[in-house]
């Protein structure tokens, strides 16, 4: 099916199979791999993105349902090279360890502050109940959200879409991960069917729920 989706301000047109999940569309077709898949029962929240200004678990939505939508992913949160205050706060407060839950956590936390710019700790914990983190014990995540809320109130009347210039204690080259995984080419942005030409079965069973 033909869809048109605006992701992080850029509009894409693709022919996608009806059963393709939004998270797989973002990750495989658009190569936006910030949204992660951590479960197959909509529990973990690693896949959270914004769809039409609503936090959505992108594993629970089909790509075709996003036709015509405005989507923001973790990759679209920083503006003009400046981290979003929530990204800053997670960094500052050590709100992440392995980082796998982090994109979803930051997206959900950002949405919380849009609804409630001054949440209590209990409200923060409650609002993040759809996002699981196995590393941090949540202590520093709560701290990071609280910090971002404080920053937001101190700064530009609470608007969380206002990117603050990051303090840059690290040189640009350090921001690059010194890794050695060669042979990992960027997937070109193509119009095509991610399932391959011969995709013969046409059900809407999302992968992962097939399980065993």
């Amino acid at each position: 099916m033909e869809i048109s989706v605006t992701v992080n301000g850029k509009t894409y047109r693709h022919n996608v199979p009806p059963r393709l999940l939004l998270v797989h569309y973002l990750r495989e077709q658009l190569n936006l791999t910030g949204a992660h898949v951590g479960c197959d029962t909509s529990q973990c929240g690693a896949c959270v993105v914004d769809v039409n200004a609503q936090s959505v678990k992108s594993c629970t939505m089909l790509a075709v349902q996003a036709d015509g939508a405005q989507v923001t992913t973790i990759e679209g949160l920083a503006t003009n090279g400046a981290y979003h205050p929530m990204q800053e706060s997670f960094w500052e407060m050590h709100g992440l360890q392995c980082g796998f839950c982090t994109p979803g956590m930051i997206m959900s936390a950002t949405a919380l502050l849009q609804r409630n710019s001054n949440p209590t700790d209990a409200e923060i914990r409650h609002a993040l109940e759809g996002n699981l983190c196995r590393c941090t014990g949540y202590e520093n995540i709560v701290k990071a959200v609280r910090h971002a809320a404080q920053q937001g109130r101190a700064g530009s009347n609470g608007s969380m879409h206002q990117g603050a210039k990051p303090e840059v204690p690290e040189s640009a080259e350090e921001l690059e991960h010194p890794r050695r995984d060669d042979g990992v080419p960027e997937k070109p942005e193509t119009v095509g069917d991610w399932e391959g030409e011969n995709a013969g079965v046409d059900e809407t069973t999302p992968m992962g729920q097939g399980g065993m």
């Binding site: 796998f100 202590e139 992962g208 065993m212």
Partner: protein, 790 residues
Amino acid sequence: MAVADQPTRMFGQAIKRREDPRLITGKGNYIDDIKLPGMLHAAVVRSPYAHAKINSIDTTAASQLPGVVAVFTGADIAQEQNPLPCAWAAGGVQNNVNTPRALAVDTVHYIGEGVALVVAESPYIAYDAMELVEVDYEPLDVVVDAEEATREGAPQLHENAPNNIVMHWTCGNQEAATQAIDSAEVVVRQRIRNQRLIATPMETRGYVARYDAATGEYTEWMSSQAPHVHRLLLAAFVLGIPENKLRCIAPDVGGGFGAKIFVYAEMAALLYAAKHTGYPVKWIESRRENCQATAQGRDHITDLEVAGTRDGKITGLRVHTYANLGGYLSTIAPGIPTTLYGRMVSGVYKIPSIFVDVKGVYTNTAMVDAYRGAGRPEATYAIERAVDLFADEIGMDPAEVRRRNFIQPEDFPYDNGLGMLPYDSGNYEPTLDRALELIDYQGFRREQEEGRKNGRLLGIGVTSYVEVCGVAPSKWIGLMGEGWGAGLWESANVKVHLTGKVNVTTGSLPHGQGHETTFAQLVADELGVPYEDVVVEHGDTQGTPFGYGTYGSRSAAVGGTAIYKSVSKIKEKARKLAAHMLEAAEEDIVFENGKAYVRGAPEASKTIQEIALQASVAYDLPQGMEPFLDETTYYDPPNCTFPFGTHICTVEIDPETGKVNVLRYVAVDDVGNVINPLIVDGQIHGGIAQGLAQALYEGVVYDENGQLLTGSLMDYSIPRADMVPHYELDRTVTPSPVNPMGVKGAGEAGTIASGATVSNAVIDALSHLGIRHLDMPYTGEKVWRAIHQQ
């Protein structure tokens, strides 16, 4: 030198992590983010039976589905590959090692064991094709409980393991313990269960394998805590190829907690699939598979007997444990309930007579291996419950009983008589005092007494723990009957380039611990270069020196020390070269804060950058000196390290619902010197959450048919943000004498202490109702029933 010139030490500073910019922007590179040209996708067909013979597998229909490239069975792969190895045959396991193959060949031993591998053009097609693989199973009798499995007439899993026993292992002194118990004023006996857990890293496992037919070389990207070990075990044991024909690469790893230490069937199956399809093949584990087929933790049934005097001295301890190891032996499974559990059950106490008896058992369940703390949470739970039971029996305050039995500072190095290495250093009482003060122990006891009059169920639980980490000495783990199949040192290479910039490569493998930051802090200090100039690399067997990886809280103590030593070697060479450059005698050269100078004349110094340049261009080097500053260390420490501490928490139980509410949680840990407090505190937080979750929420449930009832995050309840409390941390610092930095290790401490702490608090809240013990997890239902049965 003016004071203003003194650079600030990075060691001990809570600087934010350099890993984070990529991770907070969605630019991390996890296993599922890896895409190779032509890459195919695999899915594993898994057994729905816990114990069954495989009569036949029909792959015809699956193979014919458009988009399916190949379907492999266990019989195919067995022609080319051996079973996975067990690398730690501790506790006398010899003739009855049974390990899994890439796919089962004729019998399955637990739900979720792989029987076929489908390879297709997309994961969706692979999942579709899985449904079309027809397997004819003949179900066999099932046993899931470790104690039952050892009984006469129980279903037998493996021919070479009568009564399903993997090993029967003991330590300590049986005679002395018997005598202590038989002659004691007080003896307390209790059966306790340490339930089975699923590690549940938020990133499941996943692998991408590639084979180059022209060179015969394999590459495998893997979500792994130990890529070098995986290369060695897969190449040498499973594939029977030289290890230089296999390259293993761990990209960013989304948590491990032990579960990614092990060699897994899918690693081997993917290598086979890549070779036989001719294309790279990716497999990403679903959460359901992670619940079924990734190695799990704990699962002990333990009978405790503790003996002592009415004035609070513990005189004897006898422990009998059934350790459920699952359907096969996972990579280091036998070492966990023996060396890392049995030899640590004495905890922080000086107990004259101890005997530990452990039976490792096969059952029709997923394999059990190391999970955060690995043996030590089980040991801590056993001894800390024992101490509380004893305190309750003699009517003494449990904090006081602990104080009366602590190993004293002058006792170190301390030999606990169980074949453990000597505890390196410790001073336990200050952690207890500080924790009691922080929680206002006496105040809470008064509140508890008042509250009880009004029907409130308030409890306070104390745990003082010690753990063994920085696990290494090869000669101990290898030679002294521990059965470890290799050394257990760690490696590091440090290079100072021509420009003075530094590259560090380490055999450690961070998966959330922030090594890129802490190791750079360490090098910046020791070498006197700016922190920004140091880059830390890891994870690729091509380009990093062989190392054993990250687990057992060993990276700072063992991996960090390897770096420290490499830097020391570089400084030594720099001193020699500086002597040549300054035309001075080598013994007069001081190297300090990145500068070498003649003692007493710091104004005429050579910086490390100048020295690196000279070493690199090599126009003018002293006689016999090789160019370049480049040093490697393989560091095998003389001992493990033994962090310790005291955790206390307070709880209130709702008498109407049985729901446990944690009021406060205080942790005072001593992990030796701390390189980065921000990171160490984060490790403690996460650790506490996992042990607390064991106490309150988590537990694997198999029914009598071996069906896994906790097979997804809907049924297996890892905590959400609103299910855990705020943690109040403090620390004391007792440096380790084992390594030059005095560090011990912090990754597991929280988990080791918190399960027992919450347990003791919950039982304390119910003790006036006559409840002596309950097993974790303390779900509302369990607690409510206990209250209402009284």
